[in-house]
Every structure is written in structure tokens, then in C-alpha cells.
Symmetry: C2
Subunit: 414 residues, 2 copies
């Protein structure tokens, strides 16, 4: 079977028909629709000379044994958010499947290095709120004990939902065994942002995933009557908080990266009172750890300055979540760039704002790279998520070339 990118597009449509409707994809991890998608996928694997098993964390591995035990890993995730896009996650799995078919045929079932395709379990965390579940068990960063008691909106416990799918949480970390002999990891993904769309390129090489600083900020003012309180007597929590909005744009102008104030809550929040308390959420992301730390420092300083200017006490900061930047492997980034240039003429390097399973694999110390394909509308996690078929086909070709380059690289290291 020579590489047939059109088959990948056809299979994506087949999966969409099987597990989606007019409101989008419904392959939420640990649900029947997800299991149906995986069953369909196992049917495809059955036509190949591969060993297939589910690991202790629910990840499905298809292994094409090679001359060397050193393994090239290619991965994605079949699970989606509810009403999600038709490509998010599963493009990687099905493009990887096509590459696996090509390699299996070219080397008559025995390539120079082992090639393994992984379908990660629960990348999205859509049902229980814990994303990168399967890949973080693989990398060892998951703490199953701390997650067990999560429940979905119907009150079902995470532990029970996983057991139903053959996963015992106490044993999930045994999935780390799958790291053995892993020499490189490749992941193709839709961009989920507008960068490639804006520069009108189909494909890009991903430098790494942003580190994230996610904080809640509370400003303390004083309630006062909107009619009887002169402007210079006010302690206006909204004024101090609002000044943060242009400030985060200034911070990214100086440092790069992205910053978002996604929520603003005012109390008492009535038309006739100066705002007594104002809560903001801040999300800062950068590929460079020092720059990320500087962004956070500057935002804290600014919040203090704006409070002081308004006669307010120091605002209160509390951490919601944070993760360090994860950089991909320079050799693999270079191969990714080359592969893209060979297929479409021009490449572009860009960071990934969202996290991906690739970040967990990289955290495990395995050389990793991702390739992005353009998203129409620059949007994801939405039924309108889409990518031109022509670009999907190019992405399968480029992933295939990247796989070849990486196999050579692994072989040279052996």
C-alpha cells in the first residue's frame, strides 16, 4: 500500500459519520461513542501486521516491530470534546495509521526501527476535567490517587468510569513501561489558532508548548453611593482592575507570548454603587520560561501600582494552575521544517498555545516534535472547526516524510 492521503480523508469522514452529528463530534473519552470509535479503529489496525494492546492507562498501542527495538512513536487521540470538531485529535491517529501502512508495505513488515502508533486515552478531559490523562500516566506525571474522586456532571466517579473501560486507576502508572525503547515521538495536529491561516501556509513546525501561569486577582475597593460620592473620594475596585486590560497587551508587546483576562466579576455589581470588589482571571503563556516569569512579575507589579493609584490595598493573587514551557527537540524541529518544505515549498515555525499529549511525551525525556496543519476560522473545540481537504492530504504527506527522516535519525543513533 503506497501512501494514500485521500484514504485518510475518507476515513476521517467515515469516523465522523459513525461518531458525530450536525452538532459536531461526540467521542468523549470513557463513553460508549468513544468506545465505538476505538472499536472501528481496531478494525483498521487488524489489517496490518501489528501487535495491538491497551496499556494500563487505556492508551491503545499498535506496534510494527523493526530490525531495531528502538522505536519511533506516532500518536494522537480519538477522544473529542462534546460537540467538538471532526479533526481535533483523530487526524493524528488516522494520518499515523496511513504512515504505518506505507512503512509496513515498504519494508515488508520489518522496518529498520520499530514503529508504534498510539491512541492516547482522554486527551481532552472533557468529562472529568483532567486533560492529558493517558499521556500523563505514560510520562509518570499523573497522580491517580489525587484524581480518583473526580465526578462527571451526573455524579459518576472517574475511577468507576475508567474501570468500565478496563482501566484500574491504581495501576495506571504502569503505562510508563511503554516508554521503553522510545526514541522519538511525532504528532500531527490541527493548529486550533489563526497563525497559519493568516500567513496563508498549510503546515508549520511546532517549537514546543507554552508554559502557562494562570491566576485569580482580587482588587479591594469600597462600596459607595453612585450619586453622593465625589470622584476623588472613591476607592473603585473596577477602575484598578480595568487598567489591567490594556496593561496585559503592553506586557506581551514587551515580552512576546500571550495574556488573557477571561473573566471579570464585580461586587456588589449594581448600577448605583462603586465596585467594592473585583475579581479577574489572568492566563499568561510563553515558550520561554524566563520571559513567562517576567510577564507574571510585570502583571503583579502593575496590579499593585493600579491599586495604589486608586487608594486601594494590595490586590490578592492566587494561583489557579501553572506549567513550565516544554521545548521540542531541535533536530526533529529541523526535520519537520524540511519535510514541510519538501511537500509545500515553505514552512513556518510556531509555538503551540494549547497543551497536547506531545508535551507529556517530551516531559518524559523522549525527543518530540509536532506538526500543525492550518485550521479554517482559526477555531477548535467547536463543530465549525475545519481544514481544507487539500491541506489534510498535504499534512499526511509531510508527516510521512518526517517519519522517514526520523527513522533515519534513530537508525544513525543506534
Amino acid at each position: 500500500m503506497p501512501l494514500d492521503p485521500k484514504r485518510t480523508v475518507a476515513e476521517l469522514k467515515e469516523l465522523r459519520a459513525l461518531t458525530g452529528d450536525e452538532n459536531g463530534a461526540w467521542r468523549v473519552a470513557w463513553t460508549d461513542t468513544w468506545l465505538k470509535a476505538r472499536e472501528w479503529y481496531r478494525g483498521k489496525l487488524a489489517e496490518l501486521p501489528v501487535e495491538v494492546h491497551q496499556d494500563a492507562a487505556g492508551n491503545i498501542w499498535a506496534t510494527l516491530a523493526g530490525e531495531s527495538e528502538k522505536a519511533l512513536l506516532i500518536g494522537g487521540h480519538l477522544d473529542s470534546v462534546p460537540g467538538g470538531g471532526w479533526l481535533d485529535g483523530c487526524l493524528n491517529v488516522l494520518a499515523g495509521l496511513e504512515v504505518l501502512r506505507r512503512i509496513a508495505e515498504q519494508y515488508d513488515g520489518r522496518p529498520p526501527v520499530t514503529v508504534r502508533l498510539v491512541d492516547w486515552a482522554d486527551e481532552e478531559g472533557a468529562r472529568f476535567g483532567r486533560s492529558l490523562m493517558g499521556s500523563s500516566a505514560f510520562s509518570g506525571t499523573l497522580e491517580p490517587e489525587a484524581e480518583k474522586d473526580r465526578t462527571d456532571k451526573d455524579g459518576t466517579r472517574l475511577e468507576d468510569a475508567l474501570r468500565r473501560c478496563g482501566v484500574e486507576m491504581d495501576r495506571m502508572l504502569e503505562a510508563q513501561q511503554e516508554q521503553k525503547n522510545a526514541a522519538a515521538y511525532l504528532e500531527l495536529h490541527i493548529e486550533q489558532g489563526p497563525v497559519l491561516l493568516d500567513i496563508d501556509l498549510p503546515l508549520g513546525a511546532v517549537l514546543g508548548t507554552f508554559g502557562v501561569e494562570r491566576h485569580a486577582i482580587r482588587f479591594f475597593g469600597q462600596a459607595a453611593h453612585s450619586g453622593s460620592t465625589p470622584m476623588d473620594k472613591r476607592k473603585d475596585a473596577f477602575l484598578a482592575a480595568a487598567k489591567m486590560a490594556p496593561e496585559i497587551y503592553a506586557i506581551t508587546d514587551r515580552n512576546g507570548g500571550v495574556c488573557t483576562l477571561g473573566s471579570c466579576v464585580t461586587r456588589p455589581g449594581i448600577v448605583t454603587s462603586v465596585v467594592a470588589e473585583c475579581d479577574l482571571t489572568l492566563d499568561q503563556r510563553h515558550l520561554d520560561a524566563d520571559a513567562l516569569a517576567r510577564m507574571l512579575f510585570e502583571a503583579k507589579k502593575a496590579s499593585q501600582r493600579f491599586s495604589r493609584e486608586g487608594g486601594l490595598p494590595e490586590p490578592e493573587w492566587s494561583t489557579i494552575w501553572r506549567i513550565e514551557p516544554i521545548l521540542f527537540h531541535p533536530d526533529l524541529i529541523e526535520f519537520c521544517d524540511q519535510a514541510i518544505r519538501e511537500v509545500v515549498g515553505t514552512s513556518h515555525r510556531l509555538p503551540s498555545g494549547p497543551l497536547h499529549d506531545a508535551a507529556e511525551v517530551a516531559r518524559a525525556g523522549i525527543p518530540t516534535v509536532m506538526m500543525f496543519v492550518q485550521s479554517l476560522h482559526g477555531i477548535s473545540h467547536n463543530k465549525i472547526e475545519d481544514t481544507k481537504e487539500e491541506h489534510l492530504e498535504l499534512s499526511v504527506q509531510a508527516l510521512d516524510r518526517l517519519a522517514d527522516k526520523t527513522i533515519d535519525w534513530i537508525r544513525q543513533q543506534s
Copy 2:
């Protein structure tokens, strides 16, 4: 009975003990506690040579007939918000009572002009959300048909609550009959703001009540992933809205008056998304109608400019409520100033941010003025509302002098 300001303070405390507790005053209009306060007040009136009746809107009038039918009105309100301050409203009624006593004695029950003390019904609108109820029936601006179906939080209808207190809504506007022969109206009130406190003066002459422009503003951005959307690709509704906060301070710097952004609501309002929609409430107040109109115009222009800067469509404005500025009578303001200077040496002229029954009386075309007494903490509608006893006593003396000057003025006009 010569004027005895200490008696007013004693009576205020008596009323507090009767109708309040450690959480403040509970004389909410149309409730038993309010009726109890009014019964107590009628007991005080019974000792005076006055005719007492409740008008069609529930206002209680005590009339000391004079040589002339031309009448000086003095008024306040016994009703309070739930857990309200001990002085708000009732200071006026009890100070007026003391002035009435003094006049009754001095002229042996027959002053040169008629003097009438009114206890307005439901100034606060605390239970049904319609403030200035009794005084707007008096002035004729109330539309009883439009208010009838209001309910309190327990579902009781306004109409039924009023009927229980002897008020038929269909007949409320007959209270306009009380305007007959009214020649002037005086109202003493706690300031409810910090102006007199800050300049350390006990009393001030009020120029009028602010006009109010109250609007909701909706900014339209676009939801986008906080990690994958570059800063220059964002349509951030919070950014445009937030720029309004410093802007309203600039607007009042240029125009005077006050502006408040009391509520900010963000949608989707999650940490990982750029804000797609942001709602603000704006409350603008000014004593000068032209300046108020200019403030509104400038705020609208600014909201359009900030939207344009952020690549957003025009924001949507909707009116919540508006009222024109109401100016008090220049002669009475002058008398008020004189009375204050005679009692405490120095006066100060200031506008009223909050509305008062006096605004409705002035709208009826009756020459009106208010006198403010300093509020500690600059606060009201709260159990901690307070005024120094010494200032309360001075306020009774100044009101008494103002009444005398106004009686002379009315007499000269006859």
C-alpha cells in the same frame, strides 16, 4: 415650648429603640414596623394644635392653620431601607416636629402663614422597588396603573400592601390636592455622602438634585482560545469595556458631576477564552442638564472609539432610567445659607447625588430647598450610618431659622 433640639435627639433615639435593633432600622414602608413608627409619631402630633390626616397616597399631613392659607411645608419620611440608618428620613420628620412645636407656641397656635408637616409614604421603595411613591403621587408624576403589579420578594402585590394601609392605588393621585396653597417646601436630610465630612462643616445648603442618565452598554468581541490566539488577532470585548473605567474619570474631570461603572459582566467568562461579550452599567449624574447631556455624549463616543480601536463593532446602548436635574429655589437656597451661617458660622453649597422627596415637590412647581447635615463615614443605607449629636442639634436650630425666614418670605409675597 421653646425650640429644644435635644428633645429631637431624644425622640430619634426613642424611635430607634421602638423600630430598630443591632442590625439597624426596620421601618420598611407598608410593613407593621413602619405602621408602628407612624402610630408613635401620631401620638407626638396629638399634643399639638394641628389637624392630622392621611392623604390618598398614604402621606400623613399635620396642619397648623395660620393667618394666611399660604402654607410652608416641611417634610421627611419615617420609612427606612431594611437594616437602614437611624437618621435617614426620620431626622427631617422629627426636626420638623420640633420646629412646628416652637411655631405653635410662639404664635399661640396661629402663625402668620399656615405650616404643614408631611411624613411622605415610601420614600425608599425598599420593598417594591419604586422610590418616592408618596411624593410622586403628590406631584402627579406617579403612574399608579403602571406600578400596581409590582410584588415584593414574597409575592405580595403592591396594590394589596397599600390597601392594607388604607391606600387605594386608583385614587392615589388625589394626593395632588395637598399642593393647594403650598408656597414653599423645606427638607432637612443627612448628606449620605462625604462632602461635608471632608471639609469639616456640619451643615450645607443643597442646590438641587442631580439629573441621572443610567444606561447598559454591551461590547461585542469574539471568543478565542487564550493559548492559540495571537494578541493582534483578538477582538477582546473586555479590553474595550475596561478602557471606559479611566475614561469616566476623565469625563467628570472635564464636566464635573459623577459617573459610575457599577457592574461588569463577561461572557463566556472563563479563564481560557478571550471575552466575547462584555456588559457594563453606567450611571451619570449632574446638576446641569447640558453638562449631563455632554457627559453622556462623551461616554458614547468613547465607547465607540474603544470598540473601533479593538476591531469591534459598535457597542449597544440601552437606557435603564433617566431623570432631569431638579434645581432648588434661589431665594430659599440663600435663606438656607444664611440660616446655616447664623447657627454655625460657615455654610457650603452642594448638590444632592441621591434623589429625595424634595425633588418631587420641586417638580410640582413649589419653591423648594434642602439642608444637609454631615454624615459620619459619608455612608447611608447601612446600620453604621451616623451623625454627631451636636450636629443633629445644630441642624434642628438651622432648620428652625430657615423656617422663620421662609415664613417671612411667604408673607411678603401675599
